[in-house]
Symmetry: C2
Subunit: 188 residues, 2 copies
């Protein structure tokens, strides 16, 4: 009972994310994280190299949270699901989401996400030479919306307006991608 709390990298990241979620990214300080874990500030340094490493860990958590779509569904449904998932992550963690800016997204989880999009685009009939660029631009557009919403650029608008904005953005992207091939007419 009086035992010292067990600390670990995962717990540190969870605590940091919670602080970011309800007090903003600036509130994520080594002192604040330690305090939430009922531990001295210096105890953290045994589990994370420094604050930058802690932030990198937060990014990894966010990327891992992106839901990967079920492999069975049609390519356009998978892309829509991923875009919606990215937006949902941004809304769940508005403070931490800004960390995705300026980090090279070369972690395994990030590569998996990118690879999933590549696959969908190839199925959509995008020429191999254009797949990488298309993925980059799609990611940039969806990411741009998500970070704008997360950081409050739309704060003066009603939620319904923002939701409709996102729906319209998805319509724009659908107009840019090839029309989904209709394989069967009528119902299943």
């Amino acid at each position: 009972m009086g035992r010292t709390a067990q600390i670990g990298r995962a717990g540190i990241l969870a605590a940091a994310l919670e602080i970011a979620d309800d007090q903003g990214l600036d509130a994520v300080t080594m002192h604040a994280v330690a305090q939430r874990l009922e531990v001295t500030t210096m105890a953290l340094y045994r589990h994370v190299a420094n604050k930058a490493a802690l932030m990198d860990g937060l990014v990894e958590v966010l990327i891992t949270e992106f839901p990967l779509p079920a492999p069975g569904s049609a390519w356009h449904e998978r892309l829509t699901a991923m875009a919606t998932g990215v937006r949902a992550t941004a809304r769940r963690h508005p403070g931490a989401f800004a960390l995705l800016l300026g980090r090279p997204t070369v972690t395994p989880a990030a590569l998996t996400v990118r690879h999933t999009v590549h696959e969908a685009l190839r199925e959509a009939g995008i020429p191999d030479a254009d797949v990488a660029r298309t993925e980059r631009l799609l990611a940039t557009v969806v990411f741009g919306f998500a970070i704008s919403e997360a950081t409050g650029r739309f704060r003066h608008h009603d939620q319904a307006v923002i939701d409709e904005d996102f729906a319209e953005l998805l319509r724009w992207l659908r107009r840019i991608l090839p029309a989904p091939q209709v394989r069967e007419s009528g119902k299943t």
Copy 2:
């Protein structure tokens, strides 16, 4: 000659922007700005309320730098020019550009920029009811690209690739907006 350096709000903002430009936003500290102006840190507080106000000032400088297109040109040329101008500003001030996130863009300069886009969209034939939303999404898309580039999300790619990405993004947007009306056939 031995006179104390004259300090002013404009000079402070200029110094802060220079530091952000060549050492990043984190290097913009009250101490660093004061040092560049050869003045004590506390001298700054006579001209800016606090650090947040200084950052707000930086945002205003950035927005004022957005070039407004010549009113005579065609609407699609004006929009392209503005998109290119936003990207150029982001490239010139990559550190400070991130500040545009999370500030309500309701300053006079920001309203002027938005109004200019609204006008172009009305000329393009966008229904009045859709103009505001279209502007919001166009801004989000262009802004998303600019901030991704500024914060180094594309850092692993050659400049030529990034330039072509931007060109392709503009082509996407052209496909979404109405086709420009051809008023005269042949050359002028």
